[in-house]
């Protein structure tokens, strides 16, 4: 074990001097911060007006104008077009009440626990993909440069070296996740300090402790994907191929599930055992509301609708664990037996 830890330490020595991991970390931090501060901008622009809606100048006439909910609440008959029936005015007021609830949700997302929740949503997709890139580059780079030979000649032992490298990647994934959450919590603390509560009063904020289970689940999904991406790269001995296949698998599996489930009625039960489906299911739940900005960022990063579907957490944990054992085991078996040649490039 001390050998594996030592190898992980020296792998870190090498990794930290490269630009790529820092660029990937910066991307993750920018997007998680964007979720918090994007929500802040959206909230502050909405809270002063209570929300906005579009109304016609006259009932049934063309042309629209913007009215604020605060105006509607204070003087409904003065804001709505003349002749608007009372039920329609009541419906507009209800719509404003819903906007108030949405404001309360946004306000909760600006609290530390809400900000962590947003960060976890983004990490579940964006960090996942960034880790795929890092794992493929880290494992495939050794084949491309031909550096496995000088490493193994130093007497590290093949399995110990692989375990050390994997440990480093898991450590990097964990550190990046914690850093993103801490930075989001810090930003949440600051945002909560400078933000006025919504008109209906400050809603009860979620406790930071509620984020522990979602954090662990997101971490589990990251480790599973990391193992798959790293193992595929090792089996293919190519950074480009490993990166392309692991990223494509993440996207294509979702598309295929949607397509095949609509054609074959029984395909859902097959889909429940597919890796990416379970990875998404494991990371799907986060406490608190999904702020618009976090949801948009996560969607932009490839999180499809219905991630996880009917899969239970326990089922996702079993499938993800099986994937880690299967892919990790296959990579270890092949790495232990395969001849090591010179630089392969790419």
């Amino acid at each position: 074990m001390s050998n594996v830890l030592r190898i992980a330490r020296w792998e870190w020595f090498k990794l930290r001097q490269r630009r790529m991991p820092w660029v990937l970390l910066a991307i993750l931090l920018v997007f998680t911060q964007l979720a918090v501060w994007g929500s802040y901008v959206f909230y502050t622009s909405t809270v002063n007006t209570g929300g906005r809606m579009m109304l016609p100048f006259r009932p049934g006439a063309g042309g629209m104008r913007t009215v604020t909910c605060n105006e509607l609440r204070s003087n409904p008959s003065g804001v709505v077009p003349a002749g608007t029936p009372q039920p329609a005015i009541d419906a507009l007021l209800q719509q404003c009440a819903r906007q108030g609830q949405r404001l309360a949700g946004l306000y909760r997302a600006l609290q530390p626990a809400g900000a962590v929740s947003s960060a976890l949503r983004i990490a579940a997709t964006l960090e996942l993909l960034l880790l795929g890139v890092l794992a493929a580059a880290n494992v495939g780079g050794e084949y491309g440069l031909g550096t496995l030979r000088p490493i193994l000649v130093r007497g590290t032992g093949r399995l110990a070296y692989l375990a050390g490298k994997y440990l480093l990647l898991v450590g990097a994934a964990t550190a990046a996740l914690l850093l993103a959450c801490l930075a989001a919590a810090g930003s949440g603390l600051l945002a909560a300090h400078v933000t006025l509560p919504p008109p209906g009063g400050a809603p009860a904020a979620a406790a930071l402790g509620d984020s522990v289970i979602p954090l662990l689940r997101t971490w589990g999904s990251l480790v599973t994907y990391l193992t798959i991406a790293g193992s595929l790269t090792l089996l293919l001995r190519s950074t480009a191929a490993g990166m392309a296949i692991s990223l494509a698998w993440y996207v294509v599996e979702r598309i295929l599930i949607g397509l095949l489930s609509s054609i074959f009625t029984g395909f859902d039960s097959v889909a429940n055992y597919l890796p990416m489906h379970n990875i998404s299911a494991l990371a799907a739940e986060s406490p608190g509301p999904a702020p618009a900005v976090a949801a948009a960022v996560a969607a932009g990063a490839g999180a499809g609708a219905g991630a996880g579907g009917s899969i239970t957490v326990a089922h996702a944990v079993y499938v993800c664990s099986a994937c880690v054992i299967l892919f990790g085991g296959a990579a270890a078996w092949v790495f232990h037996r395969r001849d090591i040649t010179g630089a392969a490039g790419g």
Binding site: N3, R6, W10, K14, Q17, R149, R154, T156
Partner: protein
């Protein structure tokens, strides 16, 4: 294969003869399909990490991390191999002439500098046995001379160097002992001097060549005697020329001209590899 302790041992062979494969097998990078390999007594298939700590190797072209400096690369390989102290690096960098450029990124190094860093890597942890596979590959003449001089210095410092090369004049210059591989098998092995000299000869002219030929044929250490362009050519080690003169003088046959014929390692190599079955096909 017997590699004497100390000095430079040459591993020769045509392309595809199995030089790099042999080194790969010894280092555990390639799995043998049959047989066993023991290195310092440890079976390479069943964990020979301890033995590997006594070995340094540069196999083919040196592979390092391009974005790391030369020093950081050495530090990494030193740390991951768990042997050698921090004070070793400046000495090694000095030894291979890279002290001034040690903190520059590896990608900025010239081919010669990369080869020299590869040699420094092979010497990490002060190994007893150092494998250098084509260490002068791609170098200009000045670079080659530098690396050869470095190899001789290392051998002088007590390291055992196994030099794999197909540059025969280089091996002849540097190596004390040599093994010649062909199609994965050793076809000749021994001291360079002995292998080459055993194949040498002496060309001479005497006062009575016919009598001289008869006399030389009776010497138990000489080989065939033939007539060539008005000279006698006797297959015998050139350093026994004195004994030839003495033997002829005793019978009142006097040498008027004598030239030692030294066979180069290149000629010897071509001779022994040409005898191998399939050599002609391999060359084609």
């Amino acid at each position: 294969m017997r590699i004497p302790r100390g000095g430079v041992f040459g591993l020769l062979g045509p392309n595809g003869s199995g030089k790099t494969t042999t080194i790969g097998l010894l280092l555990g990078l390639i799995s043998p399909t049959a047989g066993t390999i023991r290195l310092f007594g440890a079976d390479v298939r069943h964990g020979h990490q301890g033995a590997l700590r006594r070995i340094g190797a540069m196999v083919e072209s040196p592979a390092f991390y391009p974005e790391l400096s030369g020093r950081a690369n050495l530090r990494f390989f030193q740390g991951i191999g768990r042997h050698g102290g921090r004070d070793e690096l400046p000495k090694l960098l000095e030894l291979v002439g890279l002290a001034d450029r040690a903190d520059d990124a590896f990608r900025t190094y010239s081919l010669g500098m990369k080869q020299r860093l590869g040699i420094a890597y092979a010497l990490l942890g002060n190994p007893e046995l150092v494998f250098l596979d084509e260490p002068t590959n791609g170098l200009d003449p000045a670079g080659m001379a530098e690396v050869r001089e470095l190899i001789l210095r290392l051998a002088g410092a007590g390291h055992t160097i196994v030099l794999s090369s197909h540059l025969l004049h280089e091996v002849e210059q540097l190596c004390d002992d040599v093994a010649i591989l062909s199609r994965g098998a050793i076809i000749a092995q021994g001291k360079v001097r002995e292998l080459v000299h055993a194949q040498g000869g002496v060309r001479l002219k005497t006062t009575d060549d016919a009598r001289a030929a008869q006399l030389l044929a009776t010497l138990d250490w000489s080989g065939a005697v033939r007539s060539e362009d008005g000279y006698l050519v006797v297959a015998a080690p050139p350093d026994r020329a004195g004994e030839i003169t003495r033997a002829l003088c005793r019978e009142e046959v006097f040498v008027t001209e004598m030239v030692p014929l030294r066979m180069s390692l290149e000629n010897y190599f071509l001779q022994v590899t040409a005898r191998e079955p399939g050599a002609e096909q391999a060359r084609q």
